[in-house]
């Protein structure tokens, strides 16, 4: 077997960006798209400071989160470990981009030129890449060099014609490429002889990109080492901080908001049907409208909307987006059928579909490994619980407005109180679980917490209690429901568009730079 892997020797890298530029040339990437780039990181406090240059890009993980989440199977993995993207079936949903903890994926929604569309240059015209528009793109390990090279009997990593462009270009010989499964290969030897790490090892992606930081016992250092001196570096600051992901914006948030509310409404309505014999039709129609609206909004966000409805169902094995879509296409006709035909027997399947839909939404977030604020297991519980709270709120509103006679208000108010309290509990559990995340994400969540607890929990609960005791005050009940719903929507809006700072970058060790005090402790900029 073959397992292609890349090695960046941090001792050698000078951050010159020659590899960045060579990659842009070899792959004709658009402006601001850098499949390969080199980070400039700093650790310590003046005057004890170290600075390191860290090449990053697609790590071609053995267990790639991007592939698991991909709904279209556009992202696949070859037998040799290279993670690929089929531009012809990718729908541009960017789920992979929020799942990749190395921020390696790009999506360009319209052709982009260095000096503007009106000034498209000759080489840009010759090498325009229309297939890449609106879809995910990333480092390919230069398969277009490796594969023909292998066909010609060349060895990737050794013969330049078969080697990734970034490796070829590296003026410091810091980048290496080769077959990890070959014990005699260049990369195997380097890993044997040197201390190394992989980025974000704790995420268990089994990255195919290794960083050398210090000579091992078999290393090549000839000059005797110095005894370490000075204080160890305090792990601090400089370098690229985690940034707010922009792949999923308000349109994606709208899917979670509308879909969650719709799903929650269905769940509550079916429970109401079973428990109190309330009618299903108005609620089912309202819920279907919510779900459909959510799907519409997220469809607007896909880079390839015409392709999306056909390709999104291809990956039920692991993609929660595919599963969500599948559930949605079962849920919508079932809800309509239930509303149209009034079949009470559909209540059970509908409830199951609704809960499944909500669970899929929750799991979509937990599988987005790039976003620490999403990926904790409790996120799913939070998403489901807030959906139920929103559902209970909309149920109460719809009942009050549409079928006031058929729904016992006290029961609906009690359910609302229960649901907002459950959501608050889920929120508390979520925050308790989320111990480690980018500082900026924690700040956002911390600032939002009082709003959710007071405005989204205490207020609707108090109003609902008041409405319970002041029977005959539907306005108070409606206010209770409204605040419960708005609290949930705000929660999801904040979670998707404001707290979604990505993983950022980290190194486990600062590199040894010749004979010095040795490699310092690592840094994880932007994390507390």
């Amino acid at each position: 077997m073959t397992r292609w892997a890349m090695i960046a020797d941090l001792r050698r890298c000078v951050g010159c960006q020659t590899c960045t530029a060579a990659c842009k040339h070899a792959n004709a990437t658009s402006p601001a798209v850098q499949w390969r780039k080199v980070l400039d990181m700093e650790a310590g406090i003046f005057p004890e400071v170290e600075r390191a240059f860290v090449p990053v890009g697609c790590m071609h993980c053995a267990d790639p989160p991007c592939m698991h989440v991909c709904p279209s199977t556009a992202t696949r993995q070859r037998a040799d470990g290279i993670v690929t993207i089929d531009y012809d079936i990718c729908i541009g949903c960017a789920y992979c981009a929020v799942a990749c903890p190395y921020q390696a994926r790009y999506k360009v929604d319209a052709p982009r030129f260095a000096y503007g569309r009106a000034s498209r240059m000759a080489h840009e015209a010759v090498r325009e890449q229309p297939r890449r528009v609106g879809v995910a793109q990333k480092c390919t390990f230069c398969t277009d060099r490796i594969d023909p090279g292998l066909d010609r009997g060349l060895t990737p990593g050794i013969n330049p014609e078969a080697t990734p462009a970034c490796v070829n270009s590296c003026i410091a010989d810091a980048l290496h490429f080769g077959d990890l499964d070959d014990a005699e290969s260049n990369v195997s030897a380097l890993l044997r002889d040197n201390k190394h790490f992989r980025m974000h090892e704790e995420l268990e992606t089994e990255s195919g990109f290794y960083y050398l930081w210090e000579a091992g016992p078999n290393g090549t250092r000839r000059i005797p080492a110095y005894a370490p001196s000075g204080e160890p570096l305090r792990p601090v600051v400089g370098g690229p901080q985690p940034w707010l992901q922009r792949h999923w914006d308000w349109r994606a948030a709208a899917n979670f908001i509308c879909g969650g509310t719709g799903g929650g409404l269905l769940a509550v309505a079916t429970a109401g049907l079973v428990g109190f014999g309330t009618p299903l039709a108005p609620f089912a129609l309202t819920a279907a409208a919510f779900v459909a609206a959510g799907l519409f909004f997220v469809w607007l966000e896909t880079g390839r909307p015409l392709r999306a409805p056909f390709q999104v169902f291809r990956h039920p094995q692991t993609s929660w987006m595919t599963r969500e879509s599948m559930v949605a296409v079962m849920l919508l006709p079932t809800a309509l059928a239930a509303a149209w035909l009034g079949w009470r027997d559909l209540a059970g399947p509908l409830a199951i579909l609704a809960l499944a839909f909500l669970y899929c939404q929750g799991r979509m977030l937990t599988e987005a490994k790039a976003i620490p604020a999403w990926r904790e297991p409790m996120t799913a519980t939070l998403i489901v619980s807030t959906a139920l709270a929103e559902g209970a709120g909309v149920y109460l509103i719809a009942a009050t407005l549409l079928v006031p006679e058929d729904v016992p208000a006290p029961a609906a108010l009690a359910v609302l109180i229960l649901m907002v309290l459950a959501r608050a509990g889920a929120w508390a559990a979520y925050r308790w679980q989320l111990t480690s995340a980018p500082t900026l994400a924690l700040d956002v969540l911390g600032r939002f917490a009082p709003w959710l607890i007071l405005g989204g929990t205490a207020l609707p609960a108090a109003l609902a209690l008041a409405a319970l005791f002041l029977n005959g005050m539907p306005v108070v009940a409606l206010l209770a429901a409204l605040t419960a719903v708005l609290g949930g929507w705000a929660l999801k809006f904040v979670l998707i568009t404001r707290a979604a700072y990505n993983q950022g970058f980290a190194v486990e060790h600062m590199p040894e730079r010749g004979t010095g005090v040795g490699g310092g402790p690592g840094v994880k900029p932007g994390w507390a």
Binding site: R12, P31, T515
Partner: protein, 913 residues
């Protein structure tokens, strides 16, 4: 993953000489007649020290070729008024019109005489730093040679933004226009502000990476943590401009805290001037008859001429010499009877007696124990006594080196640093030997192609040096060019490079403010500008703009509009890097890390068709020669080698008919044939077709020629260190000459001609100069503002290339002003905030970039931006220190150099509109 092509791609070999750290070899991938990729030249992997690779700058050449902002037709100015705020109102014109206009102007100028009323050349030309434009200007040098006297003194940073003291003193002491460690063999490097990982080119980066892997220890001494600091084992954040004190303390440690036997006494006694005896007037004690300096011979226990066969020099003893003489300035002789004297070595020892690490620590803001440890590490790693076999010759192996960066190496204090660094190398025998420091090229001595051949016996057992004369008869009293290089700077010599190394800011300064008893300033009648942009890259750029506006006829070769050609009368679009033809020398030993085990030639050839009306520089030069009536002289200059290779020697003759305007291809075919013949001692004569196919041709270059020591040893010569008797005399003579003409404004500079440099309070010197010249309270300017080179931009003239900007922004600091994060917090400045940086001269604004790797009293602005005319770059909003740095005589040292250093105030500011 690219699209299908209609025809197979071609890979065209060529070279990149964007920066002085080149040239390097590359290939250009051409698809359907369009250049699409730059790639390494893998075929050169065994020849080129960086295995045929090129740095990031070369990857900008594709966008440079197709840049939509390119000027692609000659332009003529229609607005006679010139100024930053004046629209030049350029209109496109034909090549005939452009060339005829220039030729007419040249003829008219020539008719009025080659020199103007002040004796200055009427023709001036400014090219970018490091001579790199020569690798792109085809045969234009032959046109300038055909013309005659040209003023190259209007610089664009040369002399103040280079390694100026090293250029001059380095050439003087060890044929070292640039100084570089023997990186493949060195174990320990102390780098004072050197930034090899950013400006040392691909060879530097590759060699140091190899060295790090084998365990080299490099200590980076500088106020901010540069790219090179990042790649070093240790960072010592020294206070700006105090490096000499650190180096003097190292000298103290070696000379006062170690046994003499720890030093390389063999080297000191036999390869330096240390044993020369010095008299009471500061000059060598000489034999009255032969006038040779005396040393004390242990064998005979007597003073003998330095070159007495078998003499065993004594370094330290109570010396008493009978009948010696001292020779001072202008031939003045003192005759001594019984004279107690000291050896140069003893004077050196006394000189650094008080420069202890404790003393230096207070000046440098570096702990004394750090300075002492580093000095001890230096000595320890020198491995005094070790030898190594190089190509069959056993040489000392001294794997220690001290390198100096920009700003350390120029302006006041630069001499001190160069001297102390080179003396430290001498003390451990690490000068021009394997592992030690090497001079890698000569530009002032001749021949330029061989350091070894430039070594000739001079006075007193040292190498000859082409010093500008200071004696009464031969002193160049009337400046030949506007920067007066030969008049004021004896060390700058008189090679084709000397003008650009003269005090290039003097040419600009004196335009407005001529000093006493000096020729009236005049503007050049015609000024050619190529690959340089002094409006951005020199200091006090607003003032330079006002000066250039007065130049009557400016011709700029340009590929886009920029700040300097904003003032042009005619703009000519030459074929750019991937469109034109030229053969240059590669390999051997060149700047910095460009020392190879091969030497030869590389061709730059058109990979693609020229853009619109752009023309090959050689065609332009030939046409200008023809239309100006200089064709014969031009062809004769070509035959003499003005384009890099003589066309006619005793071994071969490829000279072209002198009265014919030859095509670009015919011209370079002849040059290629001459190059082939030179490489093969006349045996072969392959022409242009060979080089087009292969890209380059080399022959082995002996590694022994990396080192000057064997040549000196073979000729029985010494390095002229530590004692500067010759310079001391030259300084006295220069003082006499200037004073005889009533010139006293150069007196401060004359004080630098000390036999051993004394520490002066250099930071205080800067502060006083700024305070006095601008009448400010310097306490209100508490920060030192520095700059640093950027590999992505340095020398590249590429600020308008989108891809370069995109990738450069991955390196922190390109977007603003780097400020110590702790200091910024004190001032309430956050990352990305707009700040105003104000010097006594001017103010600029930029975004705050907060880092821990910079001293709290220091600010850093990388590169030289501040564009206002260059397309794209003018929207960067990135500040440059050039606008803030004044040109002051008070801050000009004896070599005519200044430093990129100014004191500034910092405050939060509004975003500029």
């Amino acid at each position: 993953m690219t699209q299908e092509r209609s025809s197979p791609a071609r890979h065209v070999p060529t070279y990149c000489y964007q920066c002085v750290a080149g040239p390097d070899l590359l290939t250009v991938k051409v698809e359907d007649g369009v250049a699409t990729e730059v790639e390494p030249n893998f075929a050169a992997a065994d020849v080129h020290p960086a295995a045929g690779r090129i740095c990031v700058k070369a990857y900008g050449l594709v966008q440079k070729t197709y840049n939509p902002d390119r000027i692609v037709t000659p332009l003529r100015r229609t607005n006679p008024r010139k100024g930053r705020d004046e629209n030049p109102r350029f209109i496109p014109i034909s090549w005939d019109e452009a060339l005829d206009a220039i030729a007419a102007r040249l003829k008219e100028t020539r008719d009025r005489g080659l020199h103007d009323s002040s004796g200055y050349p009427r023709l001036a030309a400014s090219f970018g730093g490091g001579g790199t434009p020569t690798a792109y200007m085809g045969t234009f040098p032959a046109l300038l040679s055909a013309w005659g006297p040209v003023d190259f003194g209007f610089g664009s940073g040369q002399g103040v933004k280079c390694y100026h003291s090293e250029h001059l003193y380095g050439e003087f002491w060890h044929r070292a226009f640039t100084v570089c460690p023997d990186t493949p063999l060195t174990d320990y490097v102390i780098s004072f502000g050197g930034n090899v990982e950013a400006s040392g080119g691909v060879c530097g980066v590759k060699r140091y990476a190899d060295a790090r892997e084998r365990g080299i220890r490099r200590v980076q001494v500088e106020p901010h943590l540069s790219i090179t600091g990042a790649c070093s084992a240790e960072w010592v954040p020294i206070k700006p401009k105090t490096d000499p004190a650190f180096l003097y303390a190292m000298l103290h440690v070696l000379l006062h805290e170690h046994a003499r036997d720890d030093l390389d006494l063999e080297f000191i006694k036999h390869r330096t001037s240390a044993p020369y005896l010095v008299g009471r007037f500061g000059f060598y004690i000489r034999d009255a008859e032969t006038r040779k300096p005396l040393i004390w011979d242990a064998r005979t226990d007597s003073a003998v001429p330095f070159d007495t066969p078998g003499a065993e020099p004594v370094l330290e003893a109570p010396f008493l010499v009978d009948g010696g003489i001292e020779i001072g300035a202008d031939g003045h002789v003192w005759r001594h009877k019984a004279e107690r004297c000291q050896s140069a070595f003893e004077i050196l020892v006394a000189h650094v007696r008080n420069t202890t690490p404790l003393w230096a620590s207070r000046i440098c803001d570096v702990p004394a124990k750090t300075i002492r440890r580093i000095a001890n590490e230096f000595l320890h790693h020198a491995r005094v006594g070790a030898t190594i076999d190089i190509e069959g010759l056993t040489l000392p192996h001294r794997p220690v080196a001290i390198v100096l960066g920009k700003s350390v190496n120029n302006g006041w204090g630069g001499f001190d640093c160069c001297w102390a660094r080179t003396v430290l190398a001498c003390l451990v025998g690490a000068l021009e030997v394997p592992g030690g420091i090497l001079g890698t090229t000569v530009r002032l001595n001749r021949p330029a192609t061989s350091r070894q051949a430039s070594v000739r016996a001079g006075p007193d057992g040292f190498m000859a040096y082409p010093m500008n004369p200071t004696d009464k008869e031969r002193w160049v009293a009337r400046p030949e060019v506007r920067n007066a290089n030969r008049t004021l700077i004896p060390l700058v010599a008189n090679s084709p490079w000397s003008q650009a190394l003269g005090p290039t800011h003097l040419a600009w300064m004196m335009q407005d403010d001529p000093p006493e008893n000096w020729p009236e300033p005049t503007t050049p009648d015609v000024w050619f500008v190529y690959r340089t942009n002094p409006l951005i890259s020199f200091w006090d750029t607003d003032k330079i703009g006002r000066t250039i506006a007065r130049f009557p006829f400016t011709v700029c070769f340009a590929y886009t509009r920029d700040e300097t050609n904003h003032f042009a009368d005619i703009v000519l679009p030459e074929c750019t890097d991937l469109e034109s033809l030229q053969l240059i020398r590669i390999g051997g030993t060149k700047y910095f890390e460009q020392y190879w085990e091969h030497q030869g030639f590389a061709l730059r050839q058109p990979a693609v068709e020229p853009a619109a009306e752009a023309r090959d520089f050689t065609w332009i030069a030939t046409e200008l020669a023809r239309r100006s009536g200089l064709l014969r002289e031009y062809n004769e200059a070509l035959a003499k080698g003005a384009a890099g290779v003589p066309l006619k020697t005793e071994e071969y003759d490829f000279a072209l008919d002198p009265d014919t305007a030859h095509s670009v291809e015919d011209t370079w075919d002849a040059i290629c044939r001459a190059a082939s013949a030179e490489l093969t001692a006349g045996a072969e004569s392959q022409g242009l077709d060979y080089y087009r196919e292969h890209g380059y041709r080399v022959a082995p270059f002996p590694r022994l020629d990396w080192y000057l020591f064997p040549e000196l040893a073979a000729q029985g010569l010494r390095f002229e260190l530590p004692y500067q008797e010759r310079l001391h005399r030259v300084g006295k003579e220069l003082a006499n000459r200037l004073h005889e003409r009533g010139i006293s404004w150069w007196d401060a500079q004359l004080e630098e001609y000390d036999p051993l440099p004394e520490w002066k309070d250099y930071p205080g010197l800067w502060e006083r100069a700024l305070a006095e010249n601008f009448q400010v309270d310097i306490a209100e300017f508490p920060f030192w503002l520095l700059t640093a080179r950027s590999m992505q931009y340095a020398w590249g003239g590429n600020a308008d290339i989108q891809m370069i900007k995109e990738v450069a922004d991955n390196v922190v600091g390109h977007g603003g002003v780097i400020i110590n994060a702790g200091k910024a917090a004190e001032l309430g400045i956050a990352e990305g905030d707009w700040v105003e940086v104000r010097s006594p001269l001017n103010a600029t604004r930029g975004r705050a970039v907060l880092r821990q790797g910079i001293r709290p009293d220091t600010l850093l602005m990388i590169g030289q931006f501040d564009h206002w005319a260059t397309p794209m770059a003018k929207s960067f909003q990135v500040p440059s220190m050039n606008r803030l740095t004044p040109m002051l005589l008070d801050l000009t040292d004896a070599t005519g150099s200044g430093a990129d250093l100014v004191k500034v105030a910092l405050r939060r500011a509004k975003r500029p509109s």
